[in-house]
Point group: C2
Amino acid sequence: MQGAVFDEDTGKVLVVQDRNKMKNAWKFPGGLSEPGEDIGDTAIREVLEETGIKSEFKSLLSIRQQHGAPNAFGKSDMYIICRLRPLSFHISFCPHECLKCEWMNLTDLAQTDDTTPITHKVANLLLYGHREGFEKVDIAMQELPSVYVGLFYKLYHRELPELYENIARMD
Amino acid sequence: MQGAVFDEDTGKVLVVQDRNKMKNAWKFPGGLSEPGEDIGDTAIREVLEETGIKSEFKSLLSIRQQHGAPNAFGKSDMYIICRLRPLSFHISFCPHECLKCEWMNLTDLAQTDDTTPITHKVANLLLYGHREGFEKVDIAMQELPSVYVGLFYKLYHRELPELYENIARMD
């Protein structure tokens, strides 16, 4: 999971450069889920651990599935990027994981060559959302009760207009 | 993974009822991914095995994450519903898995009470897409080259207008 922490007021987005990489590409902070952890909770926790920034979940932005990558233990990996809203702004980054960490202008991130193709793509999605409304890029989330009493699940999909949300079921 | 196989020409969608369930709810056919299998490939394979219908991948429609369900081996499960287009129409369903299988009018599926909450929600998404354009509901897919030579990955996100796709990177 990765968290794209975007501040709508300043137009800045939180980016890091990893330690010990050949190319110092700007990326969104993130890491692996713990077993049983929610997608959004992982993104929020990893952002906090890596950068010291507190945030809240807004939506999913992008999902990557990749097979057979050298560092993936022979498995397919699902890599999900969430849109987060910052709740704090003072960076205190983890020096073991990060070489650099900063609030960067989103337009600069969308234009720089010092980034990964996926970060570039998500920067463009954020720019589109920031300029024309995040309902154009969000994969929104709802929490719903499971058939198992006391359990809930989270469902991610495009927003439905109220007309279509409320199609009557015959009871 | 599940496959919502929808035929735009007739307005019908492929649904099944599982064997050995307490309540005979209409659902989309589907099943578990094999290790290393693509999301869309799983949906297409499971639909074919369960119902005999051939189909092609169009988009993701919805993602559910659930924790601690009784039949999930103590793990969190990710459950993804794909929109598929039928390439054949003659049903030949697997009697070990299915009690019934049919092409149902999408409007009937959206209104019936004999279904699961997630199938109901996805029926509403399909109805919205069918009436107002599938670009309103699709989480679209792109295949892109990996940094590892010869490998590709698939990236799922909302469609970006060309203006935002082509923001120049400084090379």
